[in-house]
């Protein structure tokens, strides 16, 4: 029986039909998500979309109302006990009257085979402040301490719940540099974030959720293509939607009356085609960025404009 070989092929995360209700409120509503080993996934969604509820279930901090949760084929609690999954939470979880080093020592003693204390301090970039009381550390330093704690078991999956909320630009950069320098070993990372540029810069794959379900899922470039890129709007009676959709870089074609809206990554070739091969007129080209897409994909009509 070759268990290691079996484990390698198991997904890092497998959520299927996940439902989480709090009384009458449904926070997670039939969410499906599979993360393969080594993937870096950004988990995007507005407040109340179900990000934190999903992460809590993934970490075994709360239980799903329905659906199944597997982390490397294990129940979350087992995966935590075996150090396969570790997390950096947004706030709390630190004792203010311990020093940074003591905090790491304490947490290290709770694992059977932790990485050395000095090593994780170094990897998280907090060796210089090891003797400082946690209560005297800045938010960014505390967050790197949480990261150091998460490194102790050398987890195969690292979960970050909005890790840089409230940090200034410099602290965010320092935090992500620490994560990035460490990510080379093929660890899976799942991070929830409000910052689209973080998702854009650090994720292989972006999963957008809204009202507890996935609304967009793809590699960073796919979601970019789907969500970002350009939008070409023309008046074209009797448009051949199939032909338009087949053009290179086109991600969607919508028709309303004579007006056709084409979302695409490469507006030049679409325009060239429309001008040379069709009778289209009244050209209008607009660019959409990831943020527009995020709002479009994740916001209710009723709440549009409140944004995040």
């Amino acid at each position: 029986m070759n268990t290691t070989a079996i484990q390698e092929t198991l997904p890092a995360v497998q959520l299927s039909g996940l439902v989480k209700s709090f009384g009458a409120v449904t926070a997670v509503n039939g969410l499906d998500l599979t993360v393969t080993p080594g993937e870096v996934v950004a988990f995007l969604g507005p407040n109340g979309a179900g990000k934190t509820s999903t992460i809590d279930i993934l970490l075994g901090l709360s239980r799903a109302t329905r659906g199944s949760v597997k982390v490397f084929g294990l129940d979350p609690a087992q995966a935590v006990a075996q150090g396969r999954i570790a997390a950096v939470m947004q706030t709390g979880g630190l004792l203010k009257d311990l020093t940074v080093r003591e905090t790491v020592q304490l947490n290290a003693s709770l694992y059977r085979q932790p990485r050395p204390v000095g090593e994780v301090l170094e990897r998280a970039g907090i060796t210089q402040i090891a003797g400082r009381r946690v209560g005297k550390c800045s938010g960014g330093e505390q967050q790197r301490l949480r990261f150091a704690l998460a490194l102790l078991p050398e987890p195969d999956l690292l979960v970050l719940d909005e890790p840089t909320t409230g940090m200034d630009v410099e602290a965010r950069r320092a935090f992500w540099n620490a994560i990035r320098q460490d990510a080379a070993q093929g660890r899976s990372i799942l991070f929830a974030t409000h910052y689209l540029d973080e998702a854009d810069s650090y994720a292989d794959r972006i999963v957008m959720i809204r009202k507890g379900a996935v609304v967009a899922d793809g590699t960073a470039s796919q979601v970019r293509g789907m969500a970002a890129g350009r939008q070409v709007r023309v008046v074209l009676p009797g448009a051949d939607q199939v032909a338009l959709a087949a053009l290179p870089g086109v991600t969607s074609v919508q028709q309303r009356g004579d007006s056709v809206t084409i979302a695409c990554g490469d507006s030049d070739s679409v325009l060239r085609y429309l001008i040379t091969s069709t009778t289209a007129h009244d050209f209008e080209v607009t660019s959409r960025n990831l943020e527009d897409a995020f709002i479009a994909l994740t916001t209710d009509e009723a709440t549009t404009g409140q944004g995040f």
């Binding site: 239980r63 997390a87 979880g93 004792l95 009257d97 709770l110």
Partner: protein, 251 residues
């Protein structure tokens, strides 16, 4: 399956955690005041008057104050649970292989170790002031004062899980003082008004005091009192277990 869990499975107890827990408490000025200063000061306050006039009452107050000190120490450790819950520390621990019971074990361990401190100090002050006990009586009174404070470790944990407040000890300090007063720890009960003597047996402190003083006095300890003590401990442990389960399975 079982082979991997031996190498990377759950952890029930960590000596390092216990050690750091003790270090934290000893670094905390407020805890030190509760542990090192208050019990002997209270002892002198309530007991010094009996020193020459009534050696028996002097010993009574000495042992009662040792109990009081151990009680404060063990309860305050348990009560830290409320602070640590509100700071998300227990949640952080749930992201490690430490079993939830390991956290409670660490607290009880720290409470019992710290409970020794005021007992030794109060009895030491008593000895210095001339309390006359045989060697066996010193040892028995000390050990019983300390061991019976286990019931208050359970009380502290119970309240720590019950009270959502940032600092449960602010609520608990006065509560403990009242329980001690009405339970007859501050003054010999037979010197108190009848009404107070009637209330005393309803306090968990009463039975603890009787047990702790039993080596030196015919304190009137009966099996019923021991059963009382066990009942109180049972109530607090059961309450803690219930709240603990609610806390760790929170949805």
């Amino acid at each position: 399956m079982s082979t991997t869990s031996i190498e990377r499975g759950p952890v029930t107890f960590s000596p390092t955690y216990l050690l750091l827990e003790l270090r934290r408490s000893l670094r905390n000025r407020r805890t030190l005041i509760f542990l090192v200063i208050m019990p002997p000061v209270f002892f002198l306050l309530f007991g010094h008057g009996y020193r020459d006039s009534d050696p028996e009452a002097f010993a009574y107050v000495m042992i009662s104050m040792a109990v009081y000190g151990a009680m404060i120490a063990t309860t305050s450790i348990g009560a830290q649970v409320s602070v640590e819950r509100s700071q998300g520390w227990t949640r952080q621990l749930r992201l490690t292989p430490l079993r939830p019971t390991g956290y409670v074990l660490t607290k009880v361990g720290a409470a019992l170790i710290l409970g020794v401190v005021p007992v030794v100090i109060v009895l030491g002050v008593g000895a210095a002031l001339g309390a006359q006990l045989s060697f066996g009586e010193w040892i028995a009174a000390g050990v019983l004062s300390w061991f019976c404070s286990l019931v208050f470790a359970a009380l502290g944990l119970f309240l720590g899980y019950l009270i959502p407040a940032e600092n449960a000890m602010q609520f608990m300090g006065p509560l403990l003082a009242l329980m001690s007063f009405f339970g007859g720890l501050f003054q010999p009960l037979d010197q108190m008004p009848q009404a107070l003597q009637d209330i005393a047996p309803w306090m968990p402190t009463y039975a603890v005091g009787l047990v702790a003083r039993s080596p030196i006095t015919d304190s009137g300890l009966t099996l019923g009192h021991v059963a009382d003590l066990l009942l109180w401990t049972g109530v607090f442990v059961a309450g803690t277990a219930l709240l603990f389960r609610r806390d760790t399975q929170r949805v």
